[in-house]
Structure formats: structure tokens, C-alpha cells
């Protein structure tokens, strides 16, 4: 089996035992990308030269530090196209940032590469992280490695597909309303959204500032914990980043769930779920019960308002965050426009895709005079309601269980004409984003051959507990098998 289909933890052991080198891992990653990515489209940019140089440096470091080297040292990773990397074109899946080469690197990425991880390339995503299928990327579509006619989910579809297909060992994505968890579920990998404020947003091209979080997509829960531990922690460049000391998920991974109280929100399972999703979810609950956890039904009455609140708050913040995309200081712009106003309008009309324009309009409307109270302010009050519901439930419950997505991966093109249908993909992930609590999705079986994800959420700053519950489930259910495509021999 290709090294790249092994877990990060396995690769790390192999590197320290001299069974493999970072250079070899990176060459394999590049070879697999060359062979398989033309069919998947996970990567929009490959940084092979930089990757090879970084691999060499990682190998020297491993030789010098051995077990003392950080766990991610030498490991090939992919970075979502919203994470700024100095000197590397970063476009957020948008034409309006074509040619934008940031003069700085996102803190989360810097921490990862400072620990020796090797960035191999940039992963495709929905434009400005707005979408649930990666079909909104201005550059290319990404296909689900399990079934190429289906979406990988979004907005971090490229990051999820890259890990699912074993093109890289791990990737970083961002999650605003489910953009790490949902593609992880649809691609059959682990995707973790830490507590809001746990990972720096500096250098992350902003979608919705009060919701965006950077997180790992990996093959196993332990891998996710290793990446999380590398990137989490206070950043003085991000005023919203927490000063609280970072917890230690690795230390808690093996503790199990015996005696834990796990809650299933009635409102989530009473809704429309694909029968396969429902079946796998119930089975997952059964597995956790068999491990000694107490599964109970809980109620989050505000759930029915959560999606609407999200689709007011996120576009509102985005409409303001994207105002800087004016074509004057970066991006192609409209240098021959006859007036300033025309320059703005031409640059933005040509540069933004239809979904982004839709959300900017929605957000501008929600903030505009006369509508602010009824839309934005009200949505933020509903957000308080959602947070209160979670607070109440978490007084008695250690973790919440839910399916990640109401359906497995849907066919490419099947929801692009219906924004509302697309938005519905987020209905099970959005509430956790609004509350800012940590949530993970991990593989929980298949529905007609397509991956189904189990979502686990815990109170704010209980990221370790979240991964602990996930790890317990993973031990019982086993790590998901890679898709057939990933097991094709690569020369």
C-alpha cells in the first residue's frame, strides 16, 4: 500500500525509523497527484519546487532531532485556496484574486510548516468558501474520489478529496457553516472544526469573520489531533483568538466514552434524512452505546431558525469583508474603466461568480438601512438563542451526536440551479458554527457506496473531548477504507 494511504502517525513512525524519507513521501504525493488528480481536480496549484526543498529540510531535521522532531515534520499536506502563503498565488477560488501573491503567510500555515510539514499545493474550494459542493470555484470543479460524478462537498472540497484519494496525508481547510465537516463526510475522511478562536484567522481570506475557523482534514482522528495541536493557540495578530491554554487531545484520545452522556438532538433526526444516512447514524449511536456511553435524546428548539440566521449573518459579514476586493491594490482590476465607479463595478462583476454576488446582495440588504433590525440584528439574537440551547444541553450532556449531512454526496450539477437546496446541505452543521463549539465529522459507514459522516460536538474549548469521543468511535468502527480510485497503482 502506498505510504500516502497510511495515517500521518504511521508515516511519522516510518520517518523516524528510517523506513521512509520525507523526500520519498513528497515524490509519492506528487506522483499520485499527477496520476489521479486530473480525474479529481483537488488541486488548483502545485508547488513542487518548494515542496522538494522543504522535504529535504525536513529530512535533515528528522536526522538531527529524531523523535524530538514535531509529529508533522516531513508530512505532505495540502492547503485550501483561502490560506495565504507568502510568494504563492492564493485566489480563494475566485477570478477577482487571480494573480494575488500574498506578501505574508497565514499563521496556521506558518505553524504547520515551521513544524516541518511540507505543503505540496493549493486545494480547490468554493469561491470565497461560499458553497457546499466546490462547484462555485471559478477555476475548476472537484470530483468526489468515491464516485467521480458526484460532488466532494464544500467549501473545502479540494482539501477533503485530496486526503480521501491519498494525494496528501493531511490538509487544512476552513469551516464557516460546515465547510470542513460536510466535505469530510461526503469524501469519507475526518474533518475537524475547532472551537471558534482556537486557531488563528490571520491570513485566512475572510468569509464570515465571526464563524470562520481553520481545521484539519485527515484520514484518522489521531492525525487530526496531531495537526490541531500544531496549529492551535493564541495569535497576537488575531484579536479574536483565545488566550486560553491549548488542551491536549493526544493525551485524551485513548480514554474512551464509558459513562459519558451523549445527546442526540431530536430536531436533527426528525428532519429529512437520506435513509442510508439515518441507518448509519443509528448504527453509530449503537456502537457508542456498546462502548459504555449513555445515549439520550435532547432538544435544541432553536434548530429550526439556525440555518436562516446563518444565511443572514454569514452573507452580511461577507458583504463587508469582500468590499476590499475592488481591483485597485490586487487582482486583475479594470484599469481601463472610464470612471472610478465603473472600475469598481467592472472588476467586481467580472471577478465575482454568481453565488458570491448573490450572497453579497443578500448580506448588503440585511445590513441596509431599514432592514438591519429585522434581519442582521434579529439573526444575531437568534444566534444567542442557539447558544443558549447548547449551553442548556451541555449542562447535562458531554457531547452531541448528529449526522453531518442529510444526504451523501449528490451528483455534480444537481443543486447548482437551486441555491436553497444547496444551503440545506448545511442544516446539520450550521448550528455548531453559530455556537462556536468544536465539532468533528468522521466516517460512519456507506449509503449505497457513498460515505456517510458522524458528527460529534462538545462545549467550547472542549476540543480534546470532541476528538476523544471520535477516537473511541473510530476504534470500534475502524478507519474507513480509501476509495477504489485511491487504491489504483501509481507508477
Amino acid at each position: 500500500m502506498s505510504w500516502l494511504l497510511r495515517s500521518l502517525a504511521d508515516q511519522a513512525r516510518g520517518l523516524r525509523r528510517g523506513e521512509v524519507t520525507s523526500a520519498r513521501l513528497v515524490e509519492e504525493a506528487l506522483a499520485r497527484i499527477a496520476a489521479l488528480d486530473p480525474r479529481i481536480g483537488a488541486f488548483v496549484r502545485i508547488t513542487a519546487t518548494q515542496a522538494r526543498a522543504a522535504a529535504e529540510a525536513a529530512d535533515r531535521r528528522l536526522a538531527a532531532e529524531g523523535d524530538g522532531a514535531p509529529p508533522v515534520c516531513g508530512i505532505p499536506v495540502g492547503l485550501k485556496d483561502v490560506l495565504c502563503v507568502e510568494g504563492v498565488e492564493t485566489c480563494a477560488g475566485s477570478r477577482i484574486l487571480q494573480g494575488f501573491v500574498p506578501p505574508y503567510t497565514a499563521t496556521a500555515v506558518a505553524r504547520l510548516t515551521a513544524a516541518g510539514a511540507v505543503a505540496v499545493g493549493t486545494c480547490n474550494c468554493d469561491e470565497f468558501a461560499m458553497g457546499s459542493s466546490t462547484e462555485n470555484s471559478a477555476y475548476q470543479i472537484t470530483r468526489n474520489p468515491h464516485q467521480l460524478g458526484r460532488v466532494p462537498g464544500g467549501s473545502s472540497g479540494g482539501s477533503a478529496a485530496a486526503v480521501a484519494a491519498g494525494l496528501v496525508t493531511a490538509s487544512l481547510g476552513t469551516d464557516t457553516g460546515g465547510s470542513i465537516r460536510q466535505p469530510a463526510a461526503l469524501c469519507g475522511v475526518v474533518g475537524f472544526k475547532p472551537t471558534y478562536g482556537r486557531v488563528s484567522r490571520f491570513g485566512v481570506i475572510a468569509f464570515a469573520s465571526s464563524l470562520d475557523q481553520v481545521g484539519p482534514l485527515t484520514r484518522t482522528v489521531e492525525d487530526a489531533a496531531l495537526v490541531y495541536s500544531t496549529i492551535a493557540g493564541h495569535d497576537p495578530l488575531d484579536a479574536t483568538s483565545s488566550r486560553r491554554p491549548v488542551d491536549d487531545p493526544i493525551a485524551e484520545l485513548a480514554l474512551g466514552v464509558e459513562g459519558m452522556r451523549l445527546g442526540v438532538p431530536a430536531e436533527y433526526v426528525d428532519g429529512d434524512l437520506d435513509p442510508g444516512v439515518r441507518r448509519e447514524f443509528e448504527a453509530a449511536c449503537g456502537r457508542l452505546a456498546a462502548l459504555g456511553a449513555r445515549i439520550e435524546t435532547v432538544s435544541l428548539p432553536s434548530t429550526r431558525f439556525a440555518l436562516a440566521a446563518y444565511y443572514v449573518i454569514a452573507p452580511a459579514e461577507a458583504s463587508s469583508n469582500l468590499a476590499r476586493m475592488d481591483g485597485l491594490r490586487f487582482g486583475p482590476g479594470a484599469p481601463t474603466a472610464p470612471s472610478l465607479r465603473a472600475a469598481y463595478e467592472q472588476a467586481r462583476h467580472a471577478g465575482f461568480g454568481p453565488e458570491v454576488r448573490r450572497r453579497i446582495m443578500l448580506g448588503t440588504y440585511a445590513l441596509s438601512s431599514g432592514y438591519y433590525d429585522a434581519y442582521y440584528r434579529r439573526a444575531q439574537q437568534v444566534r444567542t438563542l442557539v447558544a443558549q440551547d447548547f449551553g442548556r444541553v451541555f449542562e447535562r450532556i458531554d457531547a452531541i451526536l448528529a449526522p453531518t449531512s442529510p444526504t451523501p454526496a449528490f451528483p455534480l450539477g444537481s443543486r447548482t440551479e437551486d441555491p436553497l437546496a444547496m444551503y440545506q446541505s448545511d442544516v446539520l452543521t450550521v448550528p455548531f458554527s453559530l455556537a462556536g463549539v468544536p465539532a468533528v465529522s468522521l466516517p460512519a459507514g456507506l449509503s449505497e457506496g457513498l460515505p456517510v459522516g458522524l458528527q460529534i460536538a462538545t462545549p467550547a474549548f472542549q476540543d480534546a473531548r470532541c476528538l476523544r469521543v471520535a477516537a473511541a468511535f473510530e476504534r470500534a468502527a475502524g478507519v474507513a477504507a480509501p476509495p477504489a480510485l485511491a487504491r489504483e497503482p501509481v507508477g
Partner: protein
């Protein structure tokens, strides 16, 4: 006030209409770094676009973090203005598109400013007034558009973002001002306060202190407000007053002709000596204010606020009052000496070095001020040794040195750095004030100029100066001229009368 026929017209209007004026003053804060990033706040003279970073450039992914010193300076200002400092405050985004605004929004404060209410005391032509403050809040400055007028005709504008992100404190006044002169006096007092607090350098020409005015007219006795005009970018006291005077006359003419005013924005045109409408906007801008999600709310801890309050420097009015009381100065003298904190420091140090207060006050305000100005220096940077200056002033007070002599040696001291008292001694320039010798000289002068003496007694007061002159010449300028004058008058009238 404006002279001539326009002055008369203004006076006429002011007798029939009551101006209602409120000022919005923007002050760049004297922090080291910008409001939300580490670029320099003091951008003067830096090459264009050399003072930026991803945050103030508004690059994708960059984030703001608030400057704690800027917040403290704003709280300090509010406390000096008797404002209330609410425990909770926040930053909001003001969204609009303009090339000097890289993010497409300005980070400002909307409904929870750092300081609420308060008042400013000031003096208008001898009358004490107080005008209420609405609020003091904190925001970031925009970049600069260069040569907008001329280059605009060529079809483009040039932008320098060095200034983008510099901390800007906005002091909003209630419309309590009732005349252009009052508005000017308010601004003078506010500027002085900000300089005393060390939060702003008071420089209006270079734009570190900017003023916009809102002005409307109503009939005296009316309580409702008229339709206002906003007059922007009044960058000197003179322009502020003239622009408002112009507005008063302009609005009165319109109102008297029965026209309805619409709210508008105007600017001052020096060339036309008038306010002129500014480029109209297509539609009123909807700024879509909302709390900035990148910046957590600010908590102004009451203990920290108390600490800032206890560190407030002595404010100008209090300092003037204290100097009056301590040194028996006149109101005008005290005000003059405390116009700038550096001047007040100089005066107090001079007195501490032994100068007699009354003499020190008079000399600092008059002779020393004049000499420094001619030498292109300020009082604080004169270079004169305060101990030496104090000794000289003591001699002046004791009439051991004449005022004229003192001025001469001071001018020399300023140029050469020599000790002025040393110059007096070396030149044998002490004033002749020995009564006996003066009396002799006076008698000699009367004897030598009998005609002048007779003319004086005949009622020609000016004839005395010839006699004084005779004594001064005979003593090579060293005689105490005032005492000579007194003695002459005594001798002559005694002789004449007796």
C-alpha cells in the same frame, strides 16, 4: 469679525437670526503606531506608500488589533471633558467605497462610543461659556488622495496609503454654539486641551487636527432646529470663523427670500471667499454600520479608568487659575502664559530659579517673546539658561538694570549663549539708581537746559524729554530713566511753585 459692509450685514443678520452651530473635530492621536497595526502613526515626510502593511493595506486575510494607547488617550480626553466612560464599548464598520479606504469600510464607533457626554469650558471675548460634548469616539484615518483637483481633470487620482489606519479621535459637540466667534473660541479651547493632554499636536495646517461644522439658523426664541449645512475641512481658526460668518449671511438670505433649505455639505473656497457646495453624491450613502466581528468588545474597567483619571495632567484653565493665585497675575497674563504647556512650564521653572513672578510674567509674554520670535525660536527652545535669566530679571525688578539694557543683553545672550548678567557686569551696564547722584544729575540738567525747564513749567509736558535725554546722555544711558523723570518733575514743580 469681518470688517466693512460685510461686517455690517453680518451684524444685521446676527441681530435677527440665531445661529446654531456644532463642531465635529477629528484629532490624530500621538501614538507611536497606527490604530490597528504596527505601522508608524507619524507618517509625515515618509515616501509614498512606504508606511503600510497587510492590515492597513486591506489585503485579503489581514486582521486588525486595536492600539491600547489610542484607547487610553481617548479615555483621557473624555475624562478631561467630564464625559462618562461606559464600561462597554465596541468598534463598528462603516461601509462605503472610496480609493483612500482600502478595506471598503472604516473601522469606527457607532452606538457605543468610548466617551459619552461632557462639556468644554471656554472664554469668548471675556465671557465664560460652556458647550456640551455629545461624545468622543475612536476610528481609523483614511489614506490621502493627492492633487485631486488638477489631476482629476486629467482623468485619474493618485492615492498614498501611508496615513490609512492612523488613529483618529472624533470629538462631537452638541449644537450649543451661538455665533461664529463662539465656535472659534470653542475650537481654540479644545485644541489647547488636546495639546495639554498630550494626545494631539494641534497642527491644523498639516491636518492632524481637522474641523467640520454643522450650522443652521433659527429665529431667536425658537426651539426647533433649522435645516443645517455641514461645512467640512476648516483647517484654521480664521477659516472656521469666516466660513461660518459666510454661512450665516448666506442662509439668512435664503430664508428671508422664502426659499427652503435642504441639508447639504459644503466646503470653504479661499479663492471665492465663500462656502461652496461639495460634489453632490448620487444618493445618500447608507453606511450599513454593524459591530466589527474582527474586534472583541472593549471593556473599560472602572479601576483602569480611575487610574487614567489620576494621571490627568493639570489642565489649562486650572493651571492658569493656580498661577494667578500663586503669583498674583492678571487674568490675561495667566491665560497668555498657559497657552501652551511648554510656556507654562518655562514660566514656572523661571520663577523656581529665582525670577520675581510679576517681572517674569511680563517679560516672558512681551520682551522675551519678541526676542525669541526674531531669533526664530520658541520660548521653550530659546536656549537661555533659566538661572541666568532669573538673575537678570531680578536685577530688572530691583531697577539695577534698565529695561533697555536687559533687552540688549538678552538679544546678545540668545545669539552667543553668553550669560546676560555677565554681559551687564562686563559692560558696566548697571543702571544708575543712586538717589544722590541722580538728584545731582537732574539739577545739572535743569541748569544746563533752562529753556526746556521753562517750557515744561509753562505747560509743555513734552519738553521734559529733552531734560531726561540730557541726563541719559550724561550718564551714558545708565540712569534710571523713570526715576529721572520723577525727580525732574519734583524739582521743577518745587522750584516753580516755591
Amino acid at each position: 469679525m469681518t470688517q466693512g459692509s460685510s461686517g455690517r450685514r453680518l451684524a444685521e443678520v446676527l441681530s435677527q437670526w440665531e445661529p446654531v452651530i456644532g463642531l465635529e473635530v477629528h484629532a490624530q492621536l500621538l501614538t507611536r503606531s497606527k490604530m490597528f497595526c504596527g505601522c508608524r502613526a507619524d507618517y509625515a515626510g515618509l515616501p509614498p506608500n512606504s508606511n503600510t502593511c497587510p492590515t492597513c493595506l486591506g489585503l485579503p486575510g489581514a486582521l486588525p488589533v486595536a492600539n491600547a494607547a489610542a484607547i487610553r488617550m481617548t479615555v483621557r480626553t473624555g475624562l478631561a471633558l467630564q464625559s462618562r466612560i461606559p464600561e462597554h464599548s465596541k468598534f463598528d464598520r462603516k461601509n462605503y467605497f472610496y480609493p483612500d479606504l482600502p478595506k471598503g469600510y472604516q473601522i469606527s464607533q457607532y452606538d457605543l462610543p468610548l466617551c459619552v457626554g461632557g462639556w468644554l469650558e471656554f472664554d469668548v471675548g471675556g465671557t465664560e461659556r460652556a458647550a456640551r460634548i455629545t461624545r468622543v469616539h475612536l476610528e481609523e484615518d483614511a489614506g490621502k488622495l493627492l492633487h485631486a483637483g488638477e489631476i482629476q481633470r486629467a482623468g485619474f487620482s493618485l492615492v498614498d496609503l501611508n496615513r490609512a489606519g492612523v488613529p483618529l479621535m472624533e470629538v462631537v459637540g452638541e449644537p450649543d454654539l451661538r455665533s461664529p466667534a463662539e465656535a472659534r473660541a470653542y475650537l481654540v479651547a479644545l485644541r489647547q486641551l488636546l495639546v495639554y493632554l498630550g494626545v494631539n499636536d494641534g497642527n491644523m495646517e498639516e491636518g492632524s487636527l481637522r474641523c467640520d461644522a454643522n450650522i443652521s439658523l433659527r429665529r431667536p426664541g425658537e426651539e426647533s432646529l433649522g435645516v443645517r449645512a455641514e461645512v467640512k475641512n476648516l483647517n484654521s481658526f480664521r477659516i472656521l470663523q469666516r466660513a461660518l460668518e459666510h454661512e450665516v449671511v448666506r442662509q439668512a438670505a435664503l430664508l428671508e427670500s422664502g426659499a427652503t433649505l435642504t441639508p447639504e455639505t459644503r466646503g470653504w473656497s479661499e479663492a471665492e471667499a465663500a462656502t461652496v457646495p461639495q460634489r453632490g453624491k448620487e444618493e445618500a450613502e447608507d453606511y450599513r454600520y454593524f459591530p466589527d466581528p474582527d474586534l472583541p468588545p472593549i471593556r473599560c474597567d472602572p479601576d483602569e479608568v480611575a487610574a487614567i483619571r489620576s494621571e490627568l495632567p493639570e489642565l489649562p484653565r486650572a493651571r492658569a487659575l493656580r498661577l494667578r493665585q500663586q503669583h498674583n497675575l492678571s487674568l490675561d497674563e495667566a491665560r497668555g502664559l498657559t497657552e501652551r504647556p511648554g510656556e507654562a512650564d518655562h514660566f514656572e521653572q523661571l520663577v523656581a530659579a529665582g525670577a520675581p513672578p510679576a517681572t517674569a510674567a511680563a517679560w516672558q509674554l512681551n520682551e522675551l517673546a519678541g526676542l525669541c520670535q526674531r531669533a526664530h525660536r520658541s520660548i521653550e527652545t530659546s536656549g537661555l539658561d533659566l538661572g541666568q535669566l532669573a538673575r537678570l530679571l531680578l536685577l530688572v525688578q530691583r531697577r539695577e538694570v534698565s529695561a533697555a539694557t536687559a533687552k540688549t543683553v538678552l538679544a546678545q545672550a540668545l545669539e552667543t549663549g553668553a550669560d546676560p548678567v555677565g554681559l551687564v557686569e562686563a559692560g558696566g551696564l548697571r543702571q544708575l539708581s543712586d538717589e544722590g547722584e541722580l538728584t545731582d544729575r537732574v539739577d545739572q540738567a535743569i541748569a544746563a537746559r533752562p529753556q526746556a525747564a521753562r517750557d515744561f513749567l509753562a505747560g509743555n509736558d513734552r519738553a521734559l524729554s529733552a531734560l531726561v535725554g540730557h541726563v541719559m546722555a550724561a550718564t551714558r544711558g545708565r540712569a534710571d530713566a523713570r526715576r529721572v523723570d520723577e525727580l525732574l518733575r519734583e524739582r521743577l514743580t518745587r522750584e516753580g511753585g516755591g
